[in-house]
Symmetry: C2
Subunit: 151 residues, 2 copies
DNA sequence: GGCTTGTTGTTCAAATCTGAACTAACGCTA
DNA sequence: TAGCGTTAGTTCAGATTTGAACAACAAGCC
């Protein structure tokens, strides 16, 4: 190894700040989504991914990968969303094991309803606190981190 | 407002990357802690905060604030840690409502056992992927974010 | 003292999450 | 087409989390 394990003060500061900011941001986001639309963050992420997808639908396993959630957790979340009429399950013709999760019109409406507030939270508590340079650095660095943890 | 709500491509990229990296890093950390010492991440954070504190103990409400967790959640976590002998609850003389959560020797051992692996995970998947400059930016930026969300 | 307001920590039921089965179907190979 | 290893999604039991309600105490005020 090229470094000793222990983190020096700079590294520690960055790590602590990252942890704290993540926690706080997550809490704030949960609060807004619940308040504005009765959604949890994972539910919101499911709706977003579906809205972005071709035909507003994804197969369960692809959706699980997209939102980085276990299969069983996704099953539960989609069941909840289906109960509320925001998502619909559909059979997949080409693979009879597979299931489409499809965004309904009500799901789209629910998403649009919370989105402005969500964007505002992200903007006011992260984006607008960063200079363009910092934003660039952050985007690059975390892309690298995500890549490493995916490979 | 100074900006329209929608995120431009740079902003979106940074946000998406941050979300993905957070998720993946969190999963990785959970995995290591569970594997090396049967701890969850919140449990680990509780132990760390206690270990850092004067007399290796904190009152429940202070501990909850430190780890940014709800009171009831902390009650549960500390109960689990106490069952495993890693933490001990003690009465507080100066305030009979209050409860000290105190790290036991076994708790310290458990912490030291998982810490090297934990540090390695943080290092290999975050710290060592960043240049010193990036690290500095990250520390500053997230300190700002945390400050804003705390105030 | 007696009153009021705020704090501390726990409890409880309901909601959510985890991970290990499990069923069904796929795709390949012989 | 029968067999075999893999994949998709669900189910289930147990663990954890949430949030509101509660009991006990503190702190100040009259």
């Amino acid at each position: 190894m090229t470094h000793s394990d222990a983190l020096d003060p700079r590294e520690l500061r960055a790590w602590i700040a990252f942890l704290a900011a993540s926690h706080l941001l997550e809490n704030r986001i949960e609060q807004q989504l619940k308040h504005d639309g009765g959604l949890t963050h994972p539910e919101f992420e499911v709706l977003v991914k579906l809205a972005m997808s071709d035909g507003r639908r994804l197969r369960m396993s692809d959706l699980a990968r997209e939102v980085m959630v276990s299969k069983s957790r996704l099953t539960y979340q989609v069941t909840q969303l289906e109960r509320d009429g925001l998502v619909r399950r559909t059979a997949c013709d080409s693979d009879r094991r597979a299931v489409w999760a499809e965004l309904t019109d009500r799901g789209r409406e629910a998403l649009e309803k919370v989105r402005p507030g969500h964007r505002r939270v992200v903007r006011e508590n992260l984006i607008d606190l960063l200079t363009p340079e910092e934003l660039e650095v952050l985007g690059e660095a975390f892309t690298r981190v995500a890549q490493r943890l995916s490979g």
